[in-house]
Amino acid sequence: MHEMSLAEGILQIVEDAAAKQGFKRVTEVRLEIGVLSGVEIEALSFCLEVVLKGSVADGARVDLQHIPGRGYCLGCGETVPVKALYDACPHCGSYQVQATGGTEMRVKDLLVE
């Protein structure tokens, strides 16, 4: 359920930018969400729809881009793709994989009028 907090955080970032840059309407919000960030995309989309209503970004399209998960395998000494935190290394099968990418959640940019 913390997706609602994240949606509120996104709205705040958008409103701060609007206050600073003086735009009146946001038509698109582009987000980068890592696949290992623990964010349920469907829930976040739903929450955003609710939270953005009546704001400067009312009706804005939300573009969610997945950032792929990456991990460092201690056994192989290599960076490998990771789809879930409990994934084994695709090369050696070991679970000694530290997540190094795909945990981010960012507002990338806005399309404004």
């Binding site: 705040q12 573009d63 881009q65 998960g69 959640m105 960012r106």
Partner: protein, 354 residues
């Protein structure tokens, strides 16, 4: 930022804090997607659907990394024109918005412009967390964020820990729960200062709430701060409170595969306390399997097996706490020495000028 969930604005309550925020959020609620034809639906992926004048199709063939989730607001007028950069699927003829190089609309067709943001969604929370962390460092405090599902025995473990540490360290507690001050009352019964934060509808504590609680709690220098988060194995994983470590508590009356079911929390934690091990003879819980699962998620995870009621493993846990406390105290003193040296240097420079 209102950092509680849902429409819980103004429902967060910190004990001893009168509630009169001029806080005026209004949330129009639309809880379902209702299409023109009256169907109500939520969106599983992959999916395929069509509206009049607006088609799209997710065929589920995207690889991770190029996956592209689209959220349309589904309130389009049937004739509404879009200025998306519109692509057609080469085979199916389906329309796809946002496949143009900029992954967005063609510029120049309207007065739209792109504003670079590049900000972490949790940035605000992280700023508050950094503030808390600095405060802990200045006061030599060892702060822990205790996370678990409800009923893992967090509060019992805390009470026991406080009693056992009584003569060796000062302990203060921030208690997070949706409602009631029952847990803070239990802690206060031990004589330790505690403050309850009721999150209302919120599912986690955030760094701002903890900062507010700290002001009221005013814990002693070089003390141990235990932040007992809301019982929830999901959301608290995402929110840094400024703690030195997240400590996840899992009890053996839960499933041994919980680390796999709720990987985010076990990934975020540095230490796992496997609690209620006194009950193992009555259960089919496989300890080694549980630890193996937890380390799949987090190879660095330290594990201790404890029983707060019978006392197993408590010595190891207390030793770990004392080591953390000592480290925090030494760091504060070093910082203090550094400041004193800096003052002496500046005074010397000032004296030389006079």
């Amino acid at each position: 930022m209102c950092t509680v969930c849902g429409c819980g604005q103004g429902e967060t309550q910190i004990e001893g804090h009168d509630h009169d925020h001029p806080h005026d959020h209004s949330h129009p609620h639309t809880h379902e997607h209702v299409h023109a034809d009256g169907t109500v639906h939520s969106h599983p992926h992959p999916h395929s659907h069509s509206h009049s004048g607006h088609d799209h199709n997710h065929d589920g063939l995207h690889e991770y990394g190029v996956a592209h989730a689209h959220v349309h607001d589904h309130l389009h007028d049937a004739d509404a024109m879009h200025d998306h950069a519109l692509s057609y699927h080469p085979y199916s003829g389906d329309l796809h918005y946002g496949l143009a190089p900029a992954r967005t609309h063609a510029p120049g067709l309207s007065q739209e412009r792109m504003v670079k943001i590049e900000q972490d969604i949790l940035g605000k929370n992280n700023t508050y967390a950094a503030g808390n962390r600095k405060w802990f460092a200045e006061h030599g405090m060892f702060a822990l964020n205790l996370v678990s599902s409800p009923g893992s025995g967090k509060t019992t473990l805390l009470v026991k820990t406080i009693e056992m540490l009584k003569d060796q360290a000062r302990v203060a507690v921030v208690e997070g729960d949706q409602q009631t001050s029952n847990d803070a009352d239990r802690i206060r019964a031990t004589g330790a200062p505690a403050i309850q934060v009721n999150t209302g509808k919120g599912c986690h504590l955030d760094a701002h709430m903890v900062g507010q609680a700290l002001k009221r709690l005013d814990p002693a220098d070089d003390s141990l701060l235990m932040i007992e988060n809301v019982g929830n194995l999901v959301c608290p994983a995402a929110f840094d409170l400024g703690e030195a470590h997240k400590v996840v508590i899992l009890s053996v009356t839960e499933g041994e595969d919980k680390p796999l079911k709720y990987p985010d929390m076990f990934h975020a934690a540095d230490l796992m306390l496997l609690n209620k091990v006194d009950l193992l003879p009555y259960l089919s819980f496989d300890v080694s399997k549980c630890i193996e699962y937890a380390r799949r998620v987090n190879p660095k995870l330290q594990v201790m097996q404890v029983s707060a009621t019978r006392g197993d493993g408590m010595d190891e846990w207390l030793a770990w706490l004392r080591a953390g406390l000592e480290q925090a105290r030494v760091a504060r003193e070093q910082n203090l020495d550094l400041l004193k040296r800096r003052i002496a240097e500046l005074e010397a420079r000032l004296a030389a000028k006079v």
